[in-house]
Symmetry: none
Subunit: 226 residues, 2 copies
DNA sequence: ATTACTAGCATTCGAGTAC
DNA sequence: TGTACTCGAATGCTAGTAA
C-alpha cells in the first residue's frame, strides 16, 4: 500500500465515506489534501482500481464509498496507532520457533524452580521451553522488557551446582497462556524462552521455523527495574 | 508532511522509538518498510532534518529517538483515526481540578464576553472558571476538540485592551451543565476552562486535585473548522 | 460543471560505491 | 560491518486540455 493512497483513504473516511456514499469532486478532495485536482483524480482512480473504494460518476461530483477492503486497511492502521499510544502494559513481538539444546528441559525440571513457578505463576511448566528467536528488528523490545521487574524467581544451590536468579513475565503464544523467562545476568540474547502448562509444540502444532506472536504482559509502567 | 515520512515515524514508534532511544540500522528499517537501504537512510536523514527524530551515529547502528515534534505528529494522526472509528457527538475526558491565576474571573466578568455567553450559551457564567488539567493520556482529545468549530465568541476591544476570539462547547461536569472555553489562538494547553451558572467549587464541593469527568458536546461531525 | 488524458517537469527510488 | 553520496531509471506531480 502506497503511503499517499493510505492517506487518501483516511481523508475519505474522515469525510464520512466509511459510513456511506459521499458526494465529492476531485477538486474538493484536492483541496482537502493539498494536491492538484489531477492528482486527486488519479488517487481516486488508483483506489478504485485496487478495490479500496467504489465510485459512481454523476453529472457533477462522484459518489464515493470505502469498501470492506478499505475499511480493513484503516482498521489495521488504527490498531497500530493504538499499539503505539495505548497498549503500554504489554509488549507484542514476533519470532520463529527454534530448537534449543535441551537446557530448557533440564532447568524446568529443577525443583528449586518448579516450586516457584507453581507459587508465582500458578502453573507447573511442561518440561522444556519453547525457544523463540525474536525477529532481529524487534530486539529493542527485549531490551525494553529487561527494564521491567517482572516476577522474580530466586536462584538456589544444589549439591552439584548453582542456579541463578531469573525473572518471568506472564505471556501468551498462540492463545495459550504461559510465561517468558529471562535470566537476570546474561549476555544479550535474541532467544526468548516460553514456558506453559502444556507441550507447546504438540498443543499448538509448532515446529522449527514457524512464526509465532508473543504477547508479554508487563503489568504497569511503574514496574521499571534497575 | 510527506506521507512516506509519516509512515516512517509510525514504524519507528512501533519499534519503541517514542519511549526511548532504539538501536536501528538503515538496513533494518529498510527491511521493515520494504524499501532499499538507501531509501531508508534518506528517510532518516529527512526526519532528522525536520526535527522529528534525533539520531546518534554509533560505530555500527544508529540510536534513534522521536522528538516531541514527532510525537505530536503521531498524536494528530492517531486522533484522526479515533475520529474515524469512534463515531460520537461528544468527547469525554478526565482531569484534575487545579487553581488558575484568577484570570478566569477577570475574563468572565467582561461585559463583552458576558453578553455573548448569555445569548449563545443561555446563561451568565458565575465569575471565574474551573480549571481542569486534562489527564495527559487524553491530550489528543483536546486536539480533536480544537478541530471543531464550536460556538464562536467574538473578541472585542475596551479602552485599555483587546480580548481575542474564543470558542465554546456545551459541556457537563459533575452533572452540572456549562461550557468549556478554548482560546482560538493559543499554544498547546492541557488546561480546560469550564464555566457554568453556578460556583462549581461550592456547588459540587470541588477542590484542587479532585478528579472530574468532562463531557463535551461537539454537536455533529460536519462541524469541523480550519 | 465535472473527469481524466497527455506531456513534460519534479521527485523519489535503488544500484553502485566511497568512506 | 555501517552511512550516505551520485546518478540514471522509475514514479509522481501538475498544467493544459478534451470530452
Amino acid at each position: 500500500m502506497k503511503p499517499y493512497l493510505l492517506q487518501t483513504v483516511k481523508t475519505l473516511a474522515m469525510l464520512g465515506a466509511m459510513r456511506g456514499r459521499i458526494d465529492l469532486s476531485s477538486k474538493e478532495l484536492a483541496q482537502q489534501m493539498n494536491v492538484s485536482q489531477q492528482t486527486a483524480s488519479r488517487y481516486l482512480l488508483e483506489l478504485d482500481k485496487i478495490g479500496v473504494i467504489t465510485r459512481e460518476l454523476g453529472i457533477k461530483k462522484q459518489l464515493i464509498h470505502i469498501t470492506d477492503t478499505g475499511i480493513k486497511l484503516l482498521e489495521k492502521e488504527y490498531s497500530e496507532y493504538q499499539q503505539i499510544f495505548e497498549v503500554s502494559n504489554r509488549i507484542i513481538l514476533k519470532g520463529r520457533v527454534v530448537s534449543g539444546l535441551g537446557e530448557g528441559k533440564y532447568y524446568t525440571e529443577q525443583d528449586g524452580y518448579k516450586s516457584q513457578f507453581k507459587d508465582k505463576l500458578g502453573f507447573i511448566p511442561y518440561p522444556g521451553t519453547l525457544n523463540i528467536e525474536v525477529n532481529p528488528i524487534e530486539r529493542n523490545k527485549i531490551r525494553l522488557l529487561k527494564t521491567y521487574n517482572g516476577i522474580a524467581i530466586d536462584g538456589f544451590k544444589t549439591e552439584s551446582r548453582t542456579f541463578g536468579n531469573v525473572k518471568c513475565f506472564q505471556a501468551m503464544v498462540n492463545n495459550i497462556k504461559g510465561a517468558v523467562i529471562l535470566p537476570l545476568r546474561s549476555h544479550y540474547s535474541m532467544i526468548l524462552e516460553f514456558i506453559s502448562p502444556v507441550h507447546m509444540r504438540e498443543a499448538s502444532r509448532l515446529k522449527d521455523g514457524d512464526e509465532v506472536e508473543v504477547i508479554i504482559n508487563i503489568y504497569n509502567e511503574d514496574n521499571h527495574g534497575d
